[in-house]
Structure formats: C-alpha cells, structure tokens
Point group: C3
Chain length 285, copies 3
C-alpha cells in the first residue's frame, strides 16, 4: 500500500471535482427506490447537484438528454421497472452520459435478478454496492468461476475485502469504476485500487446512506472521470459522517440532519485534507 499526500494527483482531482460540482450544478436523473428517494435527492442537492427522478420507460430518453449523468438503483422495484431501468441505462449509454448502478439487495427476487442481468450490456460507468451486492452482481453477470457470497435483504453479510476480486472483475468488464462500501471502502478501476478508512458507524443507523452515496457519485460523474467521481463521493461521505458525530453521542435523526448539513458545508479543501489522511493506494494484482 502507498499512502497519499497532497501532491498526489488524486487529491487534486477530488478537490477539483468538489469545486466543479458547486460551480456547474449538474442535473442528475435518477431511477431509484421509494424508501430513500428523498434523501438521494437532498444529498445530490447538498453537494451542489440538481435532481430529477423518473419511473416510466418513455422518460428514459428525455431524462438522459437533459441530464449530465444518470443514477439507477434497483431497490423497491415496481412491475414497470423491467422496462424502465434497462431503458434508462440504454438511454444513458447511447447519449454517452455516465451512469451509476446501485444493485441494492442483488439476488432477492426473480424480477430484480432479471433486471440486473438486462443491465449488464450497458456497462455502468460506476457500480456501487456493499460487499454482498458486489459479489452477487459478479455472480449474476457470469464473471465468477464459482458461486460466492450470500444475500440478506439490503445489508451485507460479506466483508469488503472478500468482495475485492469480484469488484475487480466487474471493473475489468465495464471499463469503469467499482465502489464497495463498508467499514473500510474499496474504490477501484482495472488499474488502481484505493482503500478509504474513517467515517461514522452511525451511517448504518439511518436508511439510505448507501443509496444516496450512489446518487452523489452520479453527481460527481457529471464533472469528472469514473474513478475520481467514486472516490470523491466516498471521501465526502466518510468526512461528513465524522463531522456529524464530532460533538459526541447523538440520536439517529440528529445525525442524519448534521450529516446532510456537512454535505452542503464541507469545502474542497476539507475534502482534500480528509483524503490525505484516509485514502491509501494499492496497486492491483
């Protein structure tokens, strides 16, 4: 592992991404679940993006057209999702807009499995999930030689390190970035892998930390490359969650408020500084 310092390009890229989003206010179109849809939108707005959410296939093309990037989350599927989500991914791919896939609860239910298989062909720019979701997705996409991992609802029962080889296979297939969220985050593309420490475990005590992280990755993907976007969002989340608990013990909803507040208040240099302390580079095998 190599530690990161301020002089490193990655820190400058992250800091620049934070600045650019605040300048450009890119519109991100999202196809996401009902539990956390409000938090996704508010997190996207907090970091400086703009948000629009759709559910119908006929909205895939116009939404991709007006958006700078697209976020697709397979939670709380409705019947129409079998048409809408592939249409959304296809529209993004054809319009050359980056898109982020969040394979929430991958493996649970036949519809979800079918939708996730359909999405494979559109090669997401970024895939973000917990360890179990990443492992399951690599299985579903036929990228693993043997079946691994286990799924229990929306929570991971595997560790981030156990998901590292699946994440790499996904990145090699898509040519984009993959982010595995957990106590330590793993963010990689086919050439470089970063581990990210820090962050408060209170993020697990509110719903939507994962979904909104994916939504925020789509915001940063509107202004920078896949790996930098995934890193910037991940660092932002760890940093804001740490700040939110810096005053001591706190209830879960006060934490949520403080956390989103810091998404809106942390500066490019705050994020750069946090990156230096918490990011470590590991060359891929």
């Amino acid at each position: 592992m190599n530690t990161i310092n301020t002089a490193d390009a990655v820190v400058r890229n992250i800091s620049t991404a934070v600045e650019e989003v605040r300048k450009q206010n890119p519109l991100v179109g999202s196809w996401t679940n009902f539990v956390t849809i409000n938090l996704v939108a508010n997190a996207q707005l907090a970091v400086g993006g703009r948000a629009a959410m759709c559910f119908l296939p006929d909205e895939a093309e116009p939404l991709a057209f007006v958006s700078k990037s697209i976020y697709v989350n397979v939670g709380t599927l409705q019947p129409i999702a079998c048409q809408s989500l592939p249409a959304a991914a296809k529209a993004a791919a054809e319009a050359n807009k980056p898109w982020v896939l969040d394979p929430v609860a991958a493996g649970l239910g036949d519809t979800r499995t079918s939708v996730l298989k359909d999405l494979k062909q559109y090669k997401p720019t970024i895939i973000r999930g917990n360890a179990s979701e990443i492992i399951t997705l690599a299985n579903l996409w036929g990228l693993e030689t043997e079946i691994k991992g286990k799924v229990e609802g929306v929570d991971s029962t595997d560790t981030v390190r156990e998901a590292a080889s699946s994440a790499l296979k996904l990145a090699e297939y898509t040519g984009g970035a993959v982010a595995v969220s957990g106590e330590i985050d793993l963010i990689l593309n086919s050439e470089k892998a970063y581990y990210l420490t820090g962050g408060s475990e209170m993020l697990e005590c509110i719903t939507g930390a994962g979904c909104s992280l994916g939504g925020v990755m789509a915001v940063f993907a509107a202004v920078t490359d896949a790996l930098t976007a995934a890193l910037t969002a991940s660092v932002f989340y760890k940093a804001a969650s740490d700040k939110a608990v810096s005053g001591g013990k706190i209830g879960t909803f006060s934490f949520q408020t403080a956390f989103v507040d810091y998404l809106s208040l942390l500066t490019p240099s705050d994020i750069a500084e946090y990156s230096e302390k918490h990011l470590t580079l590991q060359e891929c095998d």
Copy 2:
C-alpha cells in the same frame, strides 16, 4: 404597481385563511410524487391541515368525498397515473371541491404530456409551477399562439416575468388562480396580479419546496378563494424560509427542519405583517 398596507382586504383575507386552517384542520387529498410526498404531507400538517395520499383510480371519488380540497402533482408518474390523475381531478370537479394542479417537469415524457392534456378539461382552481412549467402548460393546453419556453427536468430555465402572459392565459381559461414560483413569485387571477418578494434561496437547496407549496395551497383552498389561497401559501413559504435562515449560515437539512418548524409556528399576524412588506399589486393589462 401599488403597494399593500394593513388596511387592504388582501392582507386581512390572508390572515383569516391562516387562522381558519388552524381552526378547521381541513383534510386535503393528494395525488403526488414519490420524491417529496413525505414533505408535502408534513408541510400540510404543519400549517394546520390534515393529509391523505392516494394513487388508484377507484380511490378518486371516495378521497374527493372526504376531502375539502385535492392536490394533483404530475411528478414521478406510474403507468396507473394516466387513469388516476384525471379521475382525481374529475372527482374533485364533480364534487365541487377546489383542486390544485402542479405540472412538475411539464414537457418531459409522452405520458406526462398526455396526462396534462387530459387534465385541462377539469379546470384546476389553482395552478402552481415554476416559470418553465407554466409556459409549457400553456403551450400544451393550446393557449399560446407560438411555442415558447424550455424544459430541463424539474428546474426552471425561464424567469417568472417571462411566464406572466402564459400565467394570465391559464387563469383566464380556468377562471381560477395561477402561481409562478421563483426568486420573485407571481400570483394572479384574471383580474389581479401580485408580485411577492423575499424568501431564502435555501429553498432551492432542498427537494420539494415547490411541491409542498402546491400541497399547502390546497390546504388554504379548503377555507378560502383561489387567489387568497395561492397568496397565503406563497407568503407563508417566503416568510418561513426567511425566518429559517435568520440565525446565519445553515446546512441544508437544518434549513429544512427550521423551515417546516416555522410553517407550524408562524402566526396569522406574522403572515399579515410579512404580506405588507413583500406583496405588491399590479393591475393586469
């Protein structure tokens, strides 16, 4: 333009509307989008109304029956919306209950366009949107002689003043009120037009400020005429947002909390006083 003073009937009407809602706690039935549905309900409750939300056509009549007014928002449409939203508007119209139309992202997607065209015949009591949505709706309803305006997701790319003539045409067609939300709000019917200044730009940093404003207009429409209801809700929003930032710089979720708090805490005389300062009357051409 004429300035407003306390003696003016409009200020008394606004103040009375605030009082009456707190006394009567009118039930408002809403057909609204998934992103902001929770904020719509909580804003309606905060000002003193009660909230019930539906999505199915067979609920249109019973919901209109038990409600004092109806709110229809075309965001995040599902396939069933093609039947449900016209049924909701029809049920309101036939039961002589006021209803508010929020043409969110008008112009985006064929389904939305089709639903909006269907709704024309039921002549909403109040139409509330941003400038682009108001212009697009006037286009869709065939009230403009030439195509104007542009749509980008849920955000306006036109100014409120650019939407003034479209708003007037809509009001002349419906016989009700039209509210164009923006940095300065324009609220009018076919006889009178008011401009409303003030309000914090932080309202743009959370999702649902517009939707919940429409939902709150429906609350006030339950106790007063269309123009007064649209004015009262608009003044309430500007006033509560100003109060929410009166302590200085604030994160976006703390702003949201403070904003809804003030919806529940501001008094009729607070709202009357704010109206005097920020409302100006302009005779229509």
Copy 3:
C-alpha cells in the same frame, strides 16, 4: 383496572424486548406506503432493527425467508398490491414468521377493501390501527353483527374506547394482539387488555407516527410474543414523544427529529420506568 408495578412480568418482558432488539438487530421486511416509508425504516433502525422494503409478489417468499418478521401496511396502494400484499402475508404465515397488519384508511376505495378481505385468512400476529380502522376492519372481516364506525381518510373519527369490542373480536379471531392507537392506546389479546396513557399530541402533527409504530411493532415481534411486542412499541412511542417535547414548545420537524432520536437513545430501564407509570391492566370481559 389494575395498576402495573415493576415486579410485574409485563414490565420485565417489555424491558427484555428492548434489550433483545438492540442485541439481535433483527431484519424486518416491510410492505408499506410511500408517504411514510422512509420514517418507517428509520424508526425500525432507531430502535435497533434492520429494514428492507419490497413491492413485488416474487419478493414475498425471499423477503419472508431472510426476515425475522414482516410488516404489511395498506396505504397508497398500487395495482400490484392486490397480489403482493396477500403474497407477503401468506409467505410470512407459511414461514412461521410473525407479521403485523396496519389497515391504513380501511374502507377507502374498492381495492383496499378487497386487499384487506384477502388478508384475513393469514391471521396477522398483530393488528395496529386507529379506532376507525380497527372498527372498519372488524366490519370488513364479518366479525361485527352490525355495521359500525366511519372512515375519513387516515384519521380516526371514533374513540379508542369505542373500538374496544372490535379490537377484542379481531384478537379472538387471529389469536394474536391488537393495538388501537389514540390519545390513550388500547393494546390487547383475547386474554388481557392494557390501556396506555401519556405521549405528546405532537405525534399527530407529523405524518407516519402510526405507520412507523406498526413497523416498530414488527421489530419487537421478531424477539418476543405478540402482546409484548405491541406493548413495547406503544410504550416506546409514548415515552419518546414525551421526551421530545420536554424542553417546551417546538416546531413539528424539530419534534420529529427529537422523537426519532429518543427512539434510538432511550434505554430498557427508561422504557420499563415509563411502563410502570403509564400502563394499566384491565381484565377482558
């Protein structure tokens, strides 16, 4: 009526349930409405459970399989709910997992009535509703000799005491517990009935207090019997709401934040102490 004291088994059972949920973090699968789905999940997480939400029939079995209990709420129905909600209840019953029914706005719309009738055969472990919903459900399930009660949206227009005989009939039919929420809560099974006082009326000023209470009952049903689960959640809600207003007048969203905070912060002994003060036992007739 008999008062409760610390020595009583019920207080120990309640206190133990709070402890066990914090230890086991049981996963609860929910089928619930769009208005309050986020609050339901966050309330379940705050007391120590984990949350997963679904809407599709093919997810009924896998969700019941990975969950310790299931929550079914009939608010904001979509067309697919006619298949999904009975499938969810059936899967829970067949997997011997406890499940909680929340008959939101029972009586409003033909679809809702049809879904509620279908659910009868799966005998919910706990039924939670306001007085009007409980009376209407007993009517719909043919347990009343004459039609009673009235429905107006999601709010009760009957009192808890008026619903007592309906609640008992439902409990005798299901063999489980029934909770009628109101100014005073009534929680009973076919053998014992408890009245619960306390709680802030601010709970009526936010949306989802009832739904999330049902969702939290499902969390406790994962670790204890039906009656104890219904009691524990009800006491928790009254206690947390009282604490949330203990500092004086408060806006509605600050109340919501403080309320969820206390769901995450109150200890088993806080809840035991509150039970002693506010629970009274009444033998059933």
